[in-house]
């Protein structure tokens, strides 16, 4: 009789990392659907192409590192990175843009640091920032609302065979940044006046919020990061807009424009690169939110999720050292790095 010999516990929950990642993927579907509804098939094409590039990059580097392919590809982490980057890229992005961003994210930002769990920076955001700095024009050409391209046109955009002039336009964040302080211009731009936020983008963000709530309900993420993130954006926006509504956009506009909801529920919640304790995560995400509002209001870029997340990734280990929870039986929590 050969008996299994192992240490306790002898039973484990049914979850696994792959299942975690798949839940994240499912939760992006509403957002992807609304993006497609608003901006055409470009996002779907981006996402699919990004997934293919990510899997190939991951496989290649795993092979080079002598790791088992199937075991690691099954954790879906590369797919999640690819999908999030694909969603963040403009629907007009040509194939090479996605190829560069995704392969850099997987190979450099993730695998060269040791693969899943070892990377200090969010790989999707590293890829995004690389592209934003290297190809600023291509990265800021979004489809104007109401100019949704046909699927064939999206495909041609992807192949780089069609000009984007017929479709592209400024995003609400871009428009507000351009005309901030000019009351008449601000009121004259229809894109700034949707149902409750920027035209088109309000629905995109609402869809990502829905997906995020699904993740919360499935306990894939905890409330601290999204809540603090949104608070960090909304509170300064509220105060500033009360002080000077012409110079500063309101909280709703900020919350439902650009990458706010995607960032709050899908990007900042990446556990590998976030702080780890409950309090630490709250502080971490709050600072991301504040930083986003600061860069949007005063910086050179219309949106700032990627920069803010990367900057706070830097701080996460430090935050962890000072936010240990109070352990059972201890009067105070330990602080600092220990001896």
């Amino acid at each position: 009789m050969s008996l299994i010999s192992s240490t306790s516990p002898h039973t484990t929950g049914k979850t696994d990392t792959g299942a975690f990642m798949r839940q994240v993927l499912y939760a992006t579907l509403p957002g992807l659907a609304v993006l497609t509804w608003q901006f055409g098939w470009g996002s779907v094409i981006n996402v699919l192409w990004a997934v293919l590039v990510a899997l190939l990059s991951e496989a290649a580097i795993l092979k080079a590192r002598g790791r088992p392919l199937g075991f690691y590809l099954k954790d879906y982490s590369a797919v999640v990175t690819a999908v999030l980057l694909g969603l963040a890229l403009p629907p007009t992005a040509p194939w090479w843009l996605t190829l560069i961003g995704v392969s850099f994210a997987i190979i450099v930002a993730k695998q060269l640091y040791g693969g899943l769990g070892m990377n200090p920076f969010n790989p999707a955001m590293v890829g995004y920032v690389l592209l934003l700095i290297s190809f600023p024009a291509a990265m800021t050409r979004w489809i104007a609302p109401g100019q949704t391209p046909e699927p064939a046109q999206s495909w041609q955009l992807f192949l780089g065979q069609a000009g984007v002039d017929g479709f592209s336009g400024a995003t609400p964040l871009d428009t507000f940044r351009t005309w901030a302080g000019n009351a008449s211009e601000l009121s004259g731009h229809a894109i700034l006046h949707g149902q409750f936020a920027g035209l088109g983008w309000e629905w995109v963000n609402l869809a990502f919020l829905l997906g995020g709530l699904y993740l919360l309900a499935r306990r894939i993420i905890t409330w601290q990061i999204p809540a603090a993130f949104l608070l960090g954006v909304a509170v300064p926006a509220l105060i500033a807009s009360l002080v000077d509504p012409v110079r500063f956009a309101g909280p709703l506009f900020h919350l439902f424009s650009g990458g706010t909801m995607l960032g709050a529920f899908f990007i900042a919640t990446d556990p590998v690169t976030a702080a780890t304790s409950r309090l630490g995560r709250f502080i971490y995400a709050l600072l991301i939110g504040v930083l986003i509002w600061v860069i949007r209001s005063f910086g050179g870029y219309p949106d700032a999720v990627a920069f803010s997340v990367l900057l706070l990734n830097l701080c996460a280990p430090f935050i962890d050292y000072y936010t240990q929870p109070r352990t059972y039986g201890h009067r105070k929590a330990n602080r600092g790095v220990g001896s």
Partner: protein, 895 residues
């Protein structure tokens, strides 16, 4: 948080919450549907001596002993220990190592009982009214019954219920939570024996006198809850239903659930006024106190997909798991994993021969599908599920990270030691990381490090103490040396100021002078004798000269004696008198002898004043005798007898013989003259001459005897007749010290000489001792005349001198041999010995290392080690050989 904000109105019986926790599938319905059944009566029971936490019990039986059910077979040792009783009647067949209930599957000492199948009880009876006993007596009853915590840890109950007067128990908590999946032993016990349990709780209340008594039961056991509530009706026991969540049955978690209190890290519940007891323990206490039955059996849940009749069995302690499995009908083909305890905190058994013990609440015989092999470990993504699940509110993901990196300080900073190893983190981990194993490893490392630290501290203290001792010794040595130098310097100064002071140099000089004087005297005597034999005219002159020389020699001898006598006299002033007496004696006898000689000369030359001279000689003799008597008295008074002068008894006797025969001859002559002159006193004179002749004859006989005795020691001593001061020089001149190599011939010679010297010394020493003893005997019995005593004393001294000479010579030779070793090898004997010992110990170390690593180390490592070992072997051999050779060559025997 909210509870705190609105906490003013919380109800008295509220149930609090604890952080984290998980909800694994309960799997309790398989075993909780049927009543408790009796377990098997196995043919052989195996009872480990450590079924509990603490010191193993001490066996009271020996193999072959017959035991009855309930008879104590091992007694507790020390405070934290528990007794063991025979669970059934039978024969002790063995006491020895058997596999026991340990995760490592290790062996431990067990008492093995072959059951006789009769299950005959020893005489026993319960206590009708335990309130008549003092709490102390009741605690002892519990201790004698061998009860240890039945929940899982097995801590001896007698300790937990014996808190002492200073500790007030606020809450007595009865743990009936049974939060581990699969286990239903407490559930069935409560359903079926609630009254007995409550009776047991009353005993605990009597012992601990708590303010409140709470029973915590999970809400997934409604039947048990209602049974206990029924049994508790009308008494002061509160039943608290807690939500089903693992690990609410953990002691700390249950305390938090029922009281809101936290047990401080590293402390015991008693410090917050809480005592926790398992419900099964309460039942066991009731059996022991009310029925006099020690802990012989327990309810064990037998469950799992591989069991045909899962359920709860009242199992005798020591029942092999295999017997229980057989009893419950296990399909061995389906058996994939055998767990003792629950699936969250239990451990797998390698061997079903392991016995059921006091803490065995469950045996899970699981099929491979039920508890499959753990999936492979994936990377940690720091998802934080573990931190959400941790009941201790730790950060398991950080602990894992630090444990994996062996960063123990950081792990401790994250409160590693507060982990209760409940397994909730590993249960929820999506990456299937065996987190608890990492924590156990890190904790083990921490404990090891602490133990090493203690060891290192002790070693350091030892080293420092030794260092201090050595330094002190050095300092003392140095101080002594300085004192000695100072004393020598002072002595020298004093010697320069007063040359008469008895310094060693002066003594040596005196000795030398004395030797020269006696040599000169002997030469003169020889010359005089030769002259006499040849009829030379100047024989008389020569004789006179010889006499003068003798007087000089005697004086020198006396001076040497004085010097010797003065040296110890510093300490004992009484010796001064003795010394001066001795001097006087010496002087007197010299004067007497000189006078005798002069008288003889005068007689021989027919001088007129011969008679006068003789008379003076007689007077001198009387003085000498008187002085001698005084000296003897002084010696008797002064217990520390200084070394007596060394004079040759043979020579002395010879002289006496000579004197006596001269006296006789002169007497004969006087008598003849008187006869010829017709003097009246001729007859008297003749009689006197006859008496003198007898004396002379007697002396001659003595001389003969003395001569016969003398040669033996004289031959043994290497210096022969040479004066003592010369003797150490003899071996030195034989063996030049600066030999480059050791000449084997020389060595052999020295070896022989060493042997001879040793024998000589032994003989001389023995003779001295014998003579000394005889002298003492004689002195005690006062058998001897003054002269005889003196002669004997001299003889003893002489023998002692000879023995000393032999000893000196021997020492000198040994030193010389050692010096040769030094010259030959460049090392002295001590170094050689040290080297040999060092080489031997290095060899032993290497052998040990090789033995240890033979199993684990790689092939190359082993080869390298073996090569090293060989080299060390050679080295040790060489060192041994060198040492042996040196010792043998020099003839030095190890002492």
């Amino acid at each position: 948080m909210l509870a705190k904000l609105f906490g003013g109105t919380h109800r008295k019986n509220r149930v609090y919450d604890f952080h984290g926790g998980v909800h694994p599938p309960e799997n309790k319905q398989q075993s909780n549907g049927t009543a408790i059944q009796p377990g098997p009566l196995p043919a052989r029971l195996i009872l480990p001596l450590n079924m509990h936490i603490g010191a193993p019990a001490k066996p009271l039986v020996a193999p072959g002993d017959k035991v009855l059910k309930g008879q104590m077979i091992a007694e507790p040792v020390g405070a934290v220990s528990a007794a063991i009783h025979a669970p059934t009647s039978g024969t002790v067949s063995a006491i020895g190592p058997r596999p026991i209930q340990h995760p490592s599957g290790m062996d431990a000492i067990c008492i093995v009982i072959d059951s006789d199948g009769e299950d005959r009880w020893v005489d026993h009876q319960g206590i009708a009214d335990y309130t008549e006993l003092s709490p102390g007596e009741l605690v002892d009853t519990i201790r004698q019954a061998g009860i240890a915590g039945m929940g899982g840890a097995g801590f001896p109950t007698s300790i937990k219920v014996n808190l002492g007067d200073h500790q007030r128990v606020e809450q007595l908590i009865i743990n009936a939570v049974e939060c581990e999946p699969y286990i239903t032993a407490d559930d069935r016990l409560m359903r079926e024996r609630a009254a007995d349990i409550v009776a047991g709780i009353h005993i605990l209340q009597y012992l601990l006198n708590p303010r409140r008594t709470l029973i915590g039961i999970e809400d997934n056991k409604p039947e048990a809850i209602s049974a206990i509530k029924r049994a508790c009706k009308g008494c002061d026991i509160e039943v608290r239903v807690v939500p089903t969540k693992y690990p609410s049955g953990g002691e700390k978690q249950l305390i938090q659930l029922l009281t809101g209190k936290e047990v401080a890290s590293g402390q015991l519940p008693a410090q917050v006024g809480v005592v926790c007891q398992n419900v099964g323990t309460a039942f066991a206490i009731q059996r022991a106190v009310c029925h006099g039955e020690p802990l012989l059996s327990r309810i064990t849940t037998l469950t799992g997909d591989a069991v045909a009749q899962p359920g709860n069995y009242e199992t005798l302690l020591g029942t092999p798991v295999a017997d229980l499995l057989q009893h419950g009908g296990v399909h061995s083909q389906q058996l994939g994993r055998l767990v003792m305890g629950g699936p969250m905190m239990g451990f797998t058994l390698h061997n079903p021969a392991v016995p059921v013990v006091k803490t065995t609440n469950c045996i899970i015989a699981a099929s491979p599908q039920e508890l499959p092999e753990p999936p492979p470990e994936q990377p940690c993504i720091r998802c934080g599920s573990c931190a959400e699940a941790c009941p201790a509110n730790l950060l398991p993901q950080q602990l894992y990270w630090h444990a994996k990196n062996d960063d123990l300080d950081k792990a401790l900073h994250h409160n590693l030691m507060d982990c209760i190893e409940c397994g909730a983190c590993a249960y929820v981990c999506p990456s299937h990381i065996p987190l608890v194993q990492y924590y156990r490893y890190a904790k083990g490392e921490v404990r090891q490090r602490a133990a090493d630290q203690v060891k290192a501290d002790k070693a350091r203290q030892r080293f420092e103490a030794r260092q201090a001792r050595i330094e002190q010794e050095q300092a003392e040595k140095e101080a002594r040396r300085q004192a000695r130098l100072e004393a020598n310097r002072k002595k020298k100064e004093a010697g320069a100021a007063a040359p008469t002071g008895p310094s060693a140099e002066q003594a040596a000089a005196l000795k030398q002078a004395s030797l020269e004087a006696s040599k000169a005297y002997k030469a003169a005597v020889k010359a005089a004798k030769t002259a006499e034999a040849q009829g030379d005219d100047n024989a008389a002159d020569l004789k006179a000269e010889a006499e003068r020389l003798k007087a000089v020699a005697d004086k020198a001898k006396a001076a040497v004696r004085d010097a010797k006598a003065d040296a110890p006299a510093v300490a004992a002033p009484a010796d001064d008198a003795v010394a001066s007496l001795k001097k006087q004696v010496g002087d007197a006898s010299s004067a007497y002898k000189a006078a005798v000689k002069a008288a003889k000369d005068a007689e021989a030359s027919g001088a007129d004043d011969a008679g006068d001279l003789r008379a003076r000689a007689e007077a001198l003799k009387a003085t000498a005798d008187r002085l001698k008597a005084e000296l003897r008295d002084a010696k008797a008074n002064a217990p520390t007898t200084p070394a007596a002068p060394q004079t040759d008894p043979v020579a002395e006797l010879k002289k006496q013989v000579g004197d006596a025969s001269s006296a006789y001859k002169s007497a004969v002559k006087a008598a003849k003259e008187a006869e010829a002159q017709g003097a009246d006193n001729a007859a008297e004179l003749r009689a006197e001459a006859d008496r003198l002749k007898a004396v002379a004859d007697q002396l001659k006989a003595d001389l003969r005897d003395a001569k016969a005795n003398a040669p033996a020691p004289a031959k043994a001593a290497p210096a022969g007749k040479a004066p003592p001061a010369d003797s150490p020089k003899v071996p030195e001149s034989d063996a030049p010290q600066s030999v480059a190599g050791v000449d084997p011939e020389q060595a052999a010679k020295r070896q022989k000489r060493l042997k001879a010297l040793k024998t000589a010394y032994n003989m001389a020493h023995k003779q001295y001792k014998d003579a000394h003893a005889a002298l003492e005997r004689a002195e005690r019995h006062e058998e001897l005349s003054a002269d005889e005593f003196n002669a004997m004393q001299q003889k003893v001294d002489k023998l002692k001198g000879k023995a000393d000479v032999a000893r000196d010579a021997l020492d000198a030779l040994v030193e010389e041999a050692k010096a040769d070793i030094r010259a030959h090898t460049g090392k002295d004997l001590k170094t050689l010995k040290l080297e040999a010992a060092r080489a031997e110990s290095a060899l032993a170390d290497k052998q040990q290392e090789l033995a240890q690593r033979r199993d684990s180390a790689a092939e190359e490592t082993l080869e390298a080690l073996e090569a090293e070992l060989k080299a060390l072997e050679t080295e040790a051999h060489i060192a041994r050989k060198a040492l042996k050779q040196a010792v043998e060559e020099q003839g030095l025997v190890e002492e």
